[in-house]
């Protein structure tokens, strides 16, 4: 299934616009999700002709990344850095249909050109090592145990390439333990043509981004060879999505501790019967929430970055999803209200700062968030350090249509899955229903060589929940295989769910949260205890044998042992002598005192 993921995906958002086609454009989409939270989607898109890319003439595609991809013969790359959890109960469907997000930590998948499986893995390792240096992330730890080759879950986004004829191999790796932070954002911004100094990227700041409730940074590189035979091109898309807590973001940076609102600042709900000057029932924040860009992101937008079409006309860069009746003020640039009635866009001034104020005046309605097509949650069951189980709840909220999807999990090798215990049942029945799982693809783990790969084709009937369970054994690791904080547990990568649809729409992805697996953990002072205990036993044995060989055995009465009486007498004599000495000294002292008194 081929699709174009530039303009098509943009149309998934409620704000959509036909874009002119320069080699670079960027846009920021602000979408209030609930009264208290705001989704900010930054998207940077750049393009270069495949010929200039292969001849290493770089312009908007960064040279550092381009050279790595060429060196590792990577045709298509998807790299994700994510933290936090998308709350689909209150926020609705995911932005970009989940195609621009990854599981917690780092996720990477790529199509690599090679002659064989082994060759593709060697290039994959090269790619990981190079990207690890570029993004200051532990990507070099994606080894064979963390690498899988998914069969059904991912489709190449490139247009005009054929994975089987071009000898392309798909490899996928996850690092759920990786903590995404500022050191990953800085190289991410350096890849942009304006380096975060101008344009919407100037809002990206580690303090705000990693303070968000949920954030995901994505890099996608793909090649596009149009069917009409025009020039092939290479496209790179960098995306940052974050959900900000408006109240939290509005706290001043130099004074971030939340404090009680002064009484004059309180907004009270006057409809309550007890309302009066002494009582205040705080009104819902949705009534009159106002913010400015500088309040939310810490600074205004620093001018525009290459936001012109080929004729030099400025392009809209900032979009916001609020009703047209709601009042907004901007310092400069132009405002553009769209016909849909709930969307407007702004152009940025060339070099002066751009500030936007969303006032609390006007209708406070929020766009009804779309219900996600599937809810998925995964958790551990069981207890003890020997075995456990995993239970995944997959809920289809649709009242009318069933849904089918690919459920993809990679489990570490020390989580030994029993495939015969893998069952799916409807939440309403207690017996497993074998019809729910349509297809299974299972690649068992090999100790210390590769992890388990499990791909299931599942279908969930309308308005029902499927419970997927399986059991596993916990392996005991070698002493050196434990990480520094072994008692924290071991992260298990999130499951990836790809929804299948019949029509040729862009795919929708959902990821569960990662799991924390407690393994039996040894006492780490053990080797020293073992050394000491063994040494003691050996020393005891040695001493016994040695004494047996060397000592002479005589009768008990023949022992020339210690003469206790003599020793006692000696000791007593010594004490007497000492006492005598002390007495003499004391006497002398007293005498001298006397004489001094006499004088």
């Amino acid at each position: 299934m081929k699709y174009s993921f530039g303009p098509l995906l943009l149309s998934l958002l409620s704000c959509s616009l036909v874009l002119a086609d320069p080699d670079y454009h960027e846009r920021l989409n602000l979408q209030p999700l609930t009264p208290a939270s705001l989704l900010a989607s930054f998207n940077f898109w750049s393009k270069a002709s495949l010929q200039s890319y292969e001849e290493q003439h770089f312009k908007y595609i960064p040279r550092s990344l381009g050279q790595i991809l060429q060196h590792a013969k990577t045709r298509e790359l998807h790299l994700r850095f994510s933290t936090g959890r998308w709350d689909d109960e209150s926020w609705g469907a995911r932005p970009w249909g989940g195609t621009k997000e990854g599981g917690t930590g780092v996720e990477l998948w790529a199509w690599v050109e090679a002659d064989s499986d082994a060759g593709s893995f060697a290039r994959w390792v090269t790619l990981n090592n190079a990207l690890s240096g570029l993004f200051c992330a532990s990507l070099n730890f994606i080894d064979s145990t963390r690498t899988t080759r998914p069969r059904m879950t991912f489709e190449p986004a490139s247009v005009g390439t054929n994975a089987s004829t071009d000898n392309l191999y798909l490899l996928h790796g996850t690092l759920p333990r990786e903590v995404v932070c500022t050191e990953n954002l800085t190289p991410f911004l350096k890849l942009l043509p304006c380096k975060g100094k101008a344009g919407i990227a100037s809002l990206l700041d580690g303090h705000k981004l990693f303070d968000a409730s949920w954030q995901s940074m994505a890099i996608d590189v793909r090649s596009v060879c149009p069917a009409d035979g025009s020039e092939c091109s290479i496209e790179m898309e960098q995306t940052v999505d974050m959900v900000l807590d408006v109240q939290r973001s509005k706290r001043p940076r130099d004074n971030p501790i939340p404090r009680p609102v002064p009484s004059e600042g309180l907004r009270c709900d006057d409809t309550k019967p007890y309302a009066g000057s002494d009582f205040c029932y705080p009104s819902d924040i949705s009534n009159g929430q106002s913010w400015t860009i500088a309040e939310i992101f810490g600074r205004p937008i620093q001018g525009s970055c290459l936001a012109e079409d080929s004729n030099g006309n400025p392009l809209d860069s900032v979009y916001i999803d609020v009703p047209n009746e709601r009042e907004m003020y901007i310092t400069s640039g132009t405002e553009n209200k769209h016909l849909s009635g709930t969307c407007r866009s702004f152009t940025l001034p060339k070099s002066e700062p751009f500030e936007m104020v969303l006032s609390h005046l006007g209708p406070q309605t929020f766009n009804d968030h779309t219900t996600p097509p599937l809810y998925a949650s995964r958790s551990f069951t069981g207890h003890g350090q020997e075995r456990g189980g995993v239970q995944t709840l997959l809920t289809n909220p649709s009242l009318t249509s069933s849904i089918s999807f690919v459920y993809f999990e990679t489990l570490p090798w020390f989580m030994k899955l029993y495939l015969h215990t893998l069952t799916a049942r409807l939440s309403t029945s207690s017996t497993p229903n074998p019809c729910l799982i349509k297809e299974k693809f299972y690649r068992p783990a090999l100790d210390r060589r590769r992890g388990t790969q499990l791909e299931l084709l599942i279908s969930v009937p309308a308005n029902s929940t499927v419970i997927l369970t399986y059991d596993f054994d916990k392996a005991i690791l070698r002493y050196t295989e434990y990480p520094p904080d072994a008692n924290r547990g071991f992260d298990v990568a999130p499951a990836v769910i790809r929804l299948l649809s019949n029509d040729k729409k862009a795919p929708v992805y959902i990821r569960t949260t990662s799991l924390l697996l407690p393994l039996p953990t040894p006492d780490f002072s053990m080797p020293y205890n073992v050394i000491i205990l063994t040494s003691t036993v050996m020393a005891l044995a040695f001493g016994m044998i040695f004494n047996l060989l060397v000592r002479r055995f005589v009768g008990a009465d023949e022992v020339e042992g210690w003469d206790v009486a003599a020793l006692k007498a000696k000791l007593r004599g010594g004490v007497m002598v000492l006492r005598d000495k002390m007495m003499k000294k004391g006497g002398k002292g007293r005498k001298s005192i006397n004489s001094s008194c006499g004088n």
């Binding site: 200039s52 790595i68 040494s535 003691t536 040695f542 001493g543 002479r552 009486a565 007498a569």
Partner: protein
């Protein structure tokens, strides 16, 4: 003091009552057999400890150190193992002369050359071209046509090189109507045409000839720069030995030996020349079979955001790179970087009202490249990266020049070059935010000039094949010396750090290096310079591999006291009875010897 036994406690009294004979009862005297056996037991235990325990302990806790030929390595570093010589064969073609006449002329020219040459390591050997067979004629005739493809010339140059080792062919040709001899060097071949008046041929009996002196002078002139460079390289390495010879391995004889090497070329290089060569040598990059060239356009604002670099490269740089491709290959990549600001340590440009320009302070030039923010990481793949930065200043601080010299380009040794392209030059030729091919032409020409100086190419002689040959010899010499000095450093390091592990791979690398160094040295002596370069390259690569061996760099430091501390619970309880019994036994032996 009371005598023992006069006062007894209650318990003891009871004891004595039941065993009245205790004080007098002695164990029966020990059998001599028993004493002997006990002695043997103790001795055997100690034997096990000393002959089995200790060696096992030492062996299991020791660091593996492969054997290295230290003395040989130091010999190479000190220049004792090889004194590189550069005998250049020069063929003389004199088709019109009698054999005897020609031989005499060659002899006299050789004599004159030897008189002129002050640097014995580099000398020219003349010989008469044996027979002018047809292939030689064919080769000789190639340069006649001037519109030849350069690659073809190189092909023919290599053919020539395969067949005979002569560095230069001197073609003598009689020409009527000229007074003095004239010479012309062909710029695309290794042929020196010498035209002479027929009456200049010396007779077999004469002892001096103007023609011979002329040829000798001309040849000496052609190779003067090469000689100076080689002499400089050799003297630098000798000086390096002098300054770093702290090792006890450097004997006084070595020191005097290297002094001798140094004193010889010093006559050839005057201080001014030495300074010029030094700056050129520090600037130039180490030899590599492949270099990466990165051309970057930096601008502090959003424009210009593109440049017509592809066509400009094809027109201005690619021909040059093609002509050097016989020595090294090049990859070229380009990038555009907007919003590139200076690092905070650089002073902002100052306005110079007198000249109407903005100036950068000269001491800031070293920090001009903002290494923290400008993405100028080396390219992936083997070989060094050369960076050429084209900086287009903002409209507000334009034109930007260097204070004092008013220059707008400079180079950073072994890293790359910088050119500031000032807007008013660019404005005339650029369309919108795109820099046209013509606008960047001067910058690219500056870059190509800088590129040649990074490669360390000599400026003379004007013939390109000769320059490349010279480059081969210079590279071979410098690689030979640098590999040798790496060997010396490795040897000194091995001696200085006794706790460093030396894996077998290092030993293998050292062996390979030394054997290739020997090949190089022999090849140089025989005048097979391409072969020498090839071997020197391998030697250098192997030497670096050995020196930067990973397991050697990350040495694990396990002090002996830690090992003892871990095993103290074993060593203590076992050691105490062993030592006590040994002492007791020794005491007994001492007593028995005294008794005797």
């Amino acid at each position: 003091m009371m005598a023992p036994g006069t006062e007894v406690g209650e318990g003891d009294r009871d004891y004595r009552l039941t065993l009245p004979a205790k004080s007098s009862k002695k164990p029966p005297p020990e059998l001599s057999e028993g004493i002997r056996v006990r002695g043997l037991v103790i001795v055997s235990f100690w034997a096990v400890v000393i002959f089995l325990g200790l060696p096992v302990w030492l062996w299991t806790t020791s660091i593996h150190r492969a054997r290295l030929p230290l003395q040989e390595m130091l010999d190479w570093a000190d220049g004792k193992a090889c004194k590189p010589t550069f005998p250049l064969q020069i063929a003389i073609e004199a088709p019109l002369l009698q054999d005897a006449e020609a031989a005499h002329l060659v002899h006299m020219t050789q004599h004159a050359l030897d008189d002129l040459n002050e640097f014995s390591a580099h000398h020219l050997r003349l010989r008469l071209a044996k027979s002018l067979s047809s292939p030689s004629r064919r080769n000789a005739s190639i340069p006649e046509s001037q519109d030849l493809d350069i690659g073809q010339v190189f092909q023919s140059y290599e053919d020539l090189d395969d067949r005979d080792d002569s560095a230069l062919t001197v073609r003598l040709r009689a020409q009527d109507g000229i007074q003095a001899a004239r010479s012309a060097l062909q710029s695309h071949s290794t042929i020196l045409d010498v035209a002479y008046a027929p009456n200049q041929i010396p007779s077999v009996s004469s002892s001096s000839s103007a023609l011979a002196t002329f040829i000798a002078n001309r040849l000496q002139e052609l190779f003067a720069e090469e000689q100076a460079i080689i002499a400089y390289i050799l003297s630098q390495s000798a000086a390096g030995i002098q300054s770093t010879s702290h090792s006890p391995y450097v004997s006084p004889a070595t020191a005097s030996g290297s002094r001798e090497i140094r004193s010889r070329p010093n006559r050839l290089i005057n201080p001014e020349m030495a300074a010029r060569l030094a700056s050129r040598m520090t600037r130039s990059l180490k030899y590599a079979p492949t270099y990466h060239i990165t051309m970057s356009l930096f601008t502090p604002s959003a424009s210009p955001s593109s440049w017509q670099i592809e066509s400009a490269l094809a027109e201005y740089l690619t021909p040059l790179l093609d002509s050097i491709s016989a020595v090294s290959n090049f990859t070229v990549d380009t990038q555009v970087q907007l919003y590139a600001t200076f690092s905070p340590s650089v002073h902002a440009p100052e306005h110079d009202a007198d000249h109407g320009v903005w100036t950068l302070q000269e001491e800031d030039l070293s920090g001009f490249i903002n290494a923290a923010e400008w993405p100028l990481s080396p390219s992936i793949g083997a070989g060094p990266t050369l960076n050429f930065v084209l900086y287009v200043p903002d409209q507000t601080t334009s034109p930007l020049v260097v204070k004092g010299s008013q220059a707008s380009s400079w180079l950073i040794p072994q890293w790359g070059g910088v050119v500031i392209l000032n807007a008013q030059d660019a404005n005339t030729t650029s369309v919108g935010s795109t820099l046209s091919k013509e606008a960047i032409r001067p910058a690219l020409l500056t870059f190509s000039h800088q590129l040649l100086s990074f490669l360390g190419a000599p400026q003379t002689p004007p013939s390109l094949p000769l320059q490349l040959q010279t480059l081969t010899r210079i590279r071979a010499a410098s690689l030979l010396l640098s590999a040798s000095s790496t060997m010396g450093s490795l040897a000194r390091l091995t001696v200085a750090l006794p706790s460093i592990a030396i894996p077998e791979t290092v030993s293998t690398a050292v062996d390979t290096t030394l054997s290739h160094l020997r090949y190089t040295c022999n090849a140089l002596k025989e005048g097979k310079f391409p072969e020498a370069l090839e071997n020197a390259r391998i030697a250098e690569a192997e030497a670096e591999r050995g020196f930067f061996e990973k397991s050697m760099v990350g040495q694990v430091y396990f002090p002996d006291e830690h090992k003892v501390a871990v095993y103290l619970p074993l060593l203590g309880p076992v050691g105490v009875p062993l030592i006590m019994s040994a002492l007791k036994e020794l005491k007994r032996m001492w007593a028995s010897r005294k008794a005797q």
